[in-house]
Amino acid sequence: MTIRSRSRVTPYAALLPMAVVASLGYLGAGLWTFYISLTGSRTFPSGHFIGLAQYHRLFDNERWMLSLHNLAAYGALFVLASLAIGFLLAVFIDQHVKGEGVFRTIFLYPYAMSFVATGLVWQWLLTPGDGLDGAIRALGFEHFRLDWIVSQDHAIYTVVIATVWQASGLVMALMLAGLRGVDPEIWKAARLDGIPAWRVYAQIILPMLWPTVATVLLLLATAVAKLYDAVVAMTQGGPGIASEVPAKFIMDHLFLRSNVGLASAGAIVLLVPVLALLAPYAYARSRKEAA
């Protein structure tokens, strides 16, 4: 074996364990889940094949359909709001305000907390009679009412508020890093031309930050698909089933309701949009590399 060929083998040898774990752990588990979703498994996985019956049952289930609906509404609002607030925070901090470090810490702090802690804090803040509702009424606004968390139509939006509050700090940190990477010459040139700052941000800086935005979008999108603990901590899916989400449906059926088959079908359905988002991305990348 020559030195050259050995040096070509070494990186592959180093990558192999990760590749094996990833393919067994992710691909294997995915295929296994798909297989289980075609069986009548209850508490234990079983080989009793029943075709697509679990999927049929899944889409016959009102709670599942409502969960998908909730996830779509939540996802759109959460991603847009986190992105907008995070970007604006980054722009403000980028104006070289005094005490920048303090603000950065304050804004990033929520991200250091778990969703469960965030959820519990907001649950308390939003409970009618206590928290915000009580405090504002105590200030003399007798008719003020903030009862979203116990309302059928608004409960899911309280989850949006809490999770945006948590995630926008991270978006800010990433965006700020991007902004700091912008060449100061661009600003000088824009100032000489007399272009207002907001137009520089909107038309020059933001397009330049596209790779950062793509990273942020990817992070936020995974947070959407995973949404579980914030809902459990804040509303437990209630009132009624108003704020249920797919991940909670899956967890409930896996662990509490002893229906591994139905839970697996749900997990596969949840995987489909992720793949649908990922496929065009991978395709674009491969096109770029080929070019």
């Binding site: 009102e62 709670r63 059928q152 009624g240």
Partner: protein, 409 residues
């Protein structure tokens, strides 16, 4: 002095070491973690020690959590000696996978066929074998009421029908009180529904819907009436009820701010802890009318399969200890439930528990709660529909259809 103490300590250490080697050693997973519950399970532990065994306590807070751990350990090949489950279909799959040891000899010796209520037997006896030792019975749909609230609203006697209950709730509302203290969580809503179904629909309809999952009965007009009555109760609940815990709802009744709560007999522990006593500050009604069905459930111990002779000995001894009337009495007095053996002496129980024991001995009245007849999955699907119906403006027809489809699988 110092020397004596050291000697005593040494002797004690030796003795406990010997005891650990000599007697059977049982690791027990259970979820009796609240104050009253852990005091109750201590009684079983002491009895097991007195019988020569060593008790290794694995308490895991939360029934769901505890059952998940038990099932994972059984699958993983490291099962506990014994584990708690509810008297329900929660462990049916484990029996069907042949992962539990039967307790037939104890069941035969103590004539379980004669001394246990029928709904309990139906759950623990599978294909002729007994697979669990029942510990206690909870009656889940007691109607608790505050005497002071009833007096304030001018209610002179206990309601004996659903119409009378509605009339009383109206009076409570007129008196400016919360008529029905309700914790707005899905499991409490199915409990409330079960009370309405058994009292308005009667025993036959209850069993047809919950046990037989009879599509015709679910689509019948009498079941529709049940759903309407259930939904009508919602008008008597305060707006802050969604998400509330059961004990916070009980606190409303204790303080006299609310009139009535429908909850299992564990609520009695809250009244007693607040220094109230049955018949004086609060009342307990086992149902509306003299022949209302009595909805029961309870806890059991199961014994995961093992061939290890030491573990088998530990399981046998535990099954024997748990089935003793004296142990069940000591346990249930602290737990707030009642013994599963109908031949137990109940003279030292409070008025509510004695009422319950008397009803239990009438074979016509006890039926199981939904979990007794439905798999966890079916029960959960039913719960989803009921909580959605309770909390939204869902039309009755749609609720009826959704229940039919939830119970079809």
């Amino acid at each position: 002095m110092y020397g004596t103490r050291r000697w005593l300590l040494g002797a004690w250490l030796c003795a406990s070491a010997v005891a650990a080697h000599a007697g059977p050693r049982a690791e027990v997973i259970h979820w009796w973690t609240s104050g009253g519950e852990s005091a109750a399970v201590k009684q079983v532990e002491q009895a097991y020690r007195a019988a020569g065994g060593t008790w290794v306590d694995s308490a895991i807070a939360g029934g769901d959590q505890s059952r998940a751990v038990t099932i994972n350990r059984i699958i993983g090949g490291n099962p506990p000696t014994a584990a708690q489950f509810n008297t329900s279909k929660q462990f049916l799959d484990i029996i069907e996978e042949d992962l539990l040891n039967p307790v037939d000899d104890i069941a035969r010796r103590d004539h379980w066929d004669q001394v246990l209520p029928a709904p309990i037997i139906d759950v623990i006896k599978v294909r002729g074998h007994w697979y669990a030792v029942p510990m206690n019975i909870h009656m889940q749909t007691w109607i608790w009421y505050s005497k002071s609230a009833f007096a304030k609203a001018g209610i002179a006697r206990e309601p004996a029908s659903m119409d009378e209950l509605f009339a009383d709730l109206d009076k409570l509302k007129a008196a400016g009180l919360i008529p029905l203290a309700h914790g707005g969580q899905a499991w409490q809503e199915i409990l409330l529904f079960s009370m309405v179904l058994s009292n308005v629909g009667g025993r036959d309809l209850y069993l047809k819907v919950i046990r037989d999952r009879d599509q015709g009965a679910i689509r019948s007009d009498s079941f529709r009436k049940v759903l309407v009555a259930y939904k009508r109760l919602q008008a008597y609940v305060d707006p802050a009820s969604p998400g509330r815990n059961w004990n916070d709802a009980t606190a409303l009744v204790i303080s006299g701010k609310a009139g009535v709560q429908i909850m299992g007999d564990w609520a009695k522990g809250e009244f007693i802890a607040a220094g109230q006593s049955p018949g004086r500050q609060f009342g307990c009604l086992p149902g509306l009318g003299a022949d209302s069905p009595y909805l029961i459930q309870g806890d059991v111990f199961v014994f995961p399969k093992t061939d290890d002779p030491a573990a088998l000995r530990a399981q046998k001894l535990l099954a024997d200890v748990v089935d003793r009337s004296a142990v069940q009495l000591a346990f249930n007095k602290l737990k707030g439930s009642i013994p599963v053996r109908l031949d137990a002496d109940d003279s030292r129980f409070d008025a509510c528990a004695r009422k319950g024991m008397a009803i239990l001995r009438d074979p016509q009245r006890p039926v199981g709660v939904a979990e007794v007849y439905l798999t966890p999955d079916q029960n959960g699907a039913l719960q989803d529909v009921l909580t959605a119906f309770w909390n939204t403006n869902m039309p009755v027809e749609r609720a009826q259809n959704s229940i039919a489809s939830a119970l079809r699988y």
